[in-house]
Amino acid sequence: MKKLMLMTLRDIKSNKGQYIAIIMVVVVGITMYNAISMSFYNLNSATENYYEEYRLPHLFVRLNNAPESVVGIIGRTDGVSSAQGRLVLDVPMEIPGYEGRVHARIVSVPRSNDGALNKLHLEEGRYVSGDHRDGALVEKLFMEFHRLDIGSSIYPIINGKRVELKVSGKAISPEYIYAVPSAQDMMPDNERFTILYLEHSFVQQLTGYDGLVNEVVLQLEDAGKAKEVKKKLEDRLKHNGLISVTERKDEVSYAMMDTELNALQSMGFAYPAVFLLIGSIVIYMLLIRLVDNQRRQIGVLMALGFTKGAILFHYIGYALLVGFVGSVLGSLAGVRLAEVLTRYYLTFFNIPILQVKTYADVVVLGILMSVVFCGVAGFNAAKRVLRILPAEAMRPVAPIEGKKWWGERILPFLAGIRISWRLTFRNMWRNKKRTVFTVVSIAMTVGLMISIMTMLDSMDYLFDKAFGDALSYDYKVAFTGSVHRDVVKDLGEFREVTYAEPMAEYPVRLMNGWRKENTMVTGLVQGSRVYKLFDMKGNRVEVPREGILLTEGLAKSLGVKRGDNITIEALNKPGIERRIAVKGIVEQYLGGSAFMEVGALDAVLGEGSTINAALVNLRYNGEEIAGDIEGMPYVQSVKEPDDMVKQYNEYMGLIYAYIGVIVVLSCIMGFAIIYNTTTISIMERRRELASLRIMGFTNNQVAELIFNENTAVSAMGLIIGMPLGVFMAAQILKLMPEDMISLPLVIFPKTYVLAAATVALFVILAQLANMRRISRMDLVEVMKSRE
């Protein structure tokens, strides 16, 4: 057995490059698996612990201002373990040194933080009690964005009065891990939205809502009974001005985090699996070559009395060694990368608990997976040993059977191409299996690259579409609540405003049988000049006088098509349900995913002639005017459409990081595969190549023969990989959270070109890396032996 080990090591030493290449593929797959899985576990347990320790409520009850006694009523309901009343109100806010207005959400908190629901985590400063009762705790990322310090003044406008508050602390709450005001805001905006945590009685005093609450949050004895308790509360509070009872899972921040974690989890398995699969194919090819090359040696070993089992195990040993070494290195790299990714993640989310752990089970599973994958590949390749009889193996290997391939027989012109190409095609045909494997591996690599780069294309397309054709307004003005349509006329009074049109956005629930989707419905005027909709063929469509238009993604998840009826319910007025007809399917871009005529929307939701936003165009670029508009009563915020892109890009930073990692790793793998194939074909054809060298072929002429084969195989891989990439991209897009944004499947020609260029580069690099094998080939040595 020792002798066999020695053989293994000697062989590995003389084919270093090749083994390094395969090990790299395994390393890449396992690194990715560890990094993604562990950052998933890190985040998952960080969030779960956070929710647990800081007591995220199970239910959120929203009421029109109700006497504080309602807290007691709710608290005594069966199944409720604790309840806490609070006032929550959205107000405009000014901060020194910042032009625009901030949308601040005031959330009242109990006198003591200990034992409170939604317990705050103070990064800095003091809690709002005692001396600091009239202070404000401000959300962390906002403070960091605006460089606010403890003691800074902020000026919320409460009931039309500008109030000065001193910042007493920097805080985060489990309720706002993902700090957005509502589901319609897709991305956190740390510049213009924040949460102020003020002491409860202080808020009552500021607002004049003495003895009142408008929200009650509660925890349950049994979290599994949320539905039942919710039902009970809805019944009991019907007459107490109930607006809604929401479960924790339907709260924006919680839901967003959940989607994020799910996406991470599915990525954590899909990509590494592809890498490992390719790795095992490469090992399989390498071992087949090795066994064939060492046939004679195998025969000798058998004749010497080694059992087939021992010899079989010897060859499987190569695969196991590669699998083991690769996965150990991959685990080491993966653990490091997981830490980096986890930390990076936490810059996007407000989670105080950083949990960077090494999960032994993840590591072990990774190593196991890798060893099994490689071992299976190794066994499949090595089992050809069993077919070798000692006597037969001692005989020289049957000479290679020269043959025309069917292409040449069917297409006579192929017989007329240059001899070097004829030779290339015949070689590929002769090694059908290997050709197929290589083509498949390259196709998968290309597919991987294209699928991931498609995400970028789709986003670009979306923005181009949105800002090129669809959205041409300069600013969107959001009002603090529903206002009469005529308010838009006031906006028109500004000399610089050249155009203003009303718009409305309401959160609704759309239902079709058991299928439900919470979304925003956008109300537009017919013939809008600044917010255009297009059908799937790219033709402009108008919002209908009656009925609703849905984006394709939304229609699909509701299972409806044009002409079907759906039920619509306003989320802020539960109980009002209307049937409405789907009048068409439109393309999605940034913004809403359901559209109605603004009047029809009013009618359905019973809002009267009201709107809550306006779209305006200005004569010239007017930051100042925007500021003026922002100062108007009723106006909550003024936003440029570009802000969406900015926010989106910021959020996408995370996705870019993954895209980057995957692209880089795919590149390493692509190179490893091509390098490997090149090496194998040189080794197999040593004799042929050496005799051509002796005939007077130059190194380059000989290299060309190998180069041709690589080019052909890679080109085929590329051709198959491109549609494969499109298919994979479609699958990935399905994983993306639908209600957030549904990306269209768009691939720019440049992506194909880039993929092709990358593969071409690999071919050339692999060729250069192997040039030495050709130029250093010992001609005398090769010719001495008979095969």
Binding site: P399, E401, G402, I419, S691, L692, I694, M695, G696, V780
Partner: protein, 232 residues
């Protein structure tokens, strides 16, 4: 003097052991002559021939072929020399298995400056009717004919044959030797041939006996026997 080898030395070192393979070989052959190298296994015959053919390099000494000092050529020049001036014939043919007979010859004629006509060469080796076959579909003797055709298609000055009949039976060997003699006459190609068969020496102008890296005996044949009359 077409080939002029003098004081040629070559040694291999593996580890601490130094193995002197050629210890000052002297050899001369005129243009258009056939030379035969005889000698026991391991005496350095192939090594010597590889150096003359520009496949291997000597440590010291001179190798003049048609006035060119082979030992002074660069790697690229050696390739050029092999392509233009030398044809090789091996014991085990070394045809490209995935090319047909005609293609095996074309592939070499494609890289030569002034190649002979492929069909004429095939005619000369009597392989024209089998030119579409692959090496696998040929007998050893036929494969050796193809390899001769491949060697002479570029119209080389020098044909180097390392045991060309080593793997062939009596009759086939004689026909191959006859073919070589014919090439020598028709094209005026100088031939240097290694063999273990002393009988073959009868068809050569000059016979060199090599022993332990030295030419220990050199004979000039006054009468050249045609190959088909040689018996052993």
């Amino acid at each position: 003097m077409f080939i002029d080898v003098s004081n040629l030395k070559k040694s291999y070192t593996s580890g601490a052991v130094r193995n002197e393979v050629l210890k000052g070989v002297e050899m001369k052959l005129d243009r258009g002559d056939i030379g035969v190298i005889l000698g026991p296994s391991g005496s350095g015959k192939s090594t010597l021939m590889n150096i003359i053919g520009g496949v291997d390099r000597a440590d010291s000494g001179r190798v003049h072929v048609d006035g060119v000092e082979i030992n002074d050529l660069s790697d690229d020049q050696l390739t050029e020399y092999r392509r233009r001036d030398v044809g090789f014939i091996f014991q085990f043919y070394n045809l490209v298995p995935n090319l047909t007979v005609a293609e095996n010859i074309e592939v070499v004629s494609n890289i030569s400056k002034s190649p002979l006509n492929v069909d004429e060469v095939l005619e000369a080796v009597e392989m024209k009717d089998k030119k579409r076959r692959f090496p696998r579909e040929l007998s050893g003797g036929e494969q050796q004919r193809v390899s001769i055709a491949r060697a002479i298609v570029k119209n080389p000055k020098l044909l180097l044959c390392d045991e060309p009949t080593g793997a062939l039976d009596y009759q086939t060997s004689r026909s191959i030797l006859k073919l070589l003699q014919q090439v020598n006459k028709e094209f005026g190609t100088t031939i240097l041939m290694i063999t273990h068969n002393t009988a073959i020496a009868a068809m050569a102008n000059r016979v060199f006996r090599l022993r332990s890296g030295k030419v220990v005996d050199e004979a000039v044949n006054q009468v050249i026997i045609p190959a088909e009359r040689i018996e052993w």
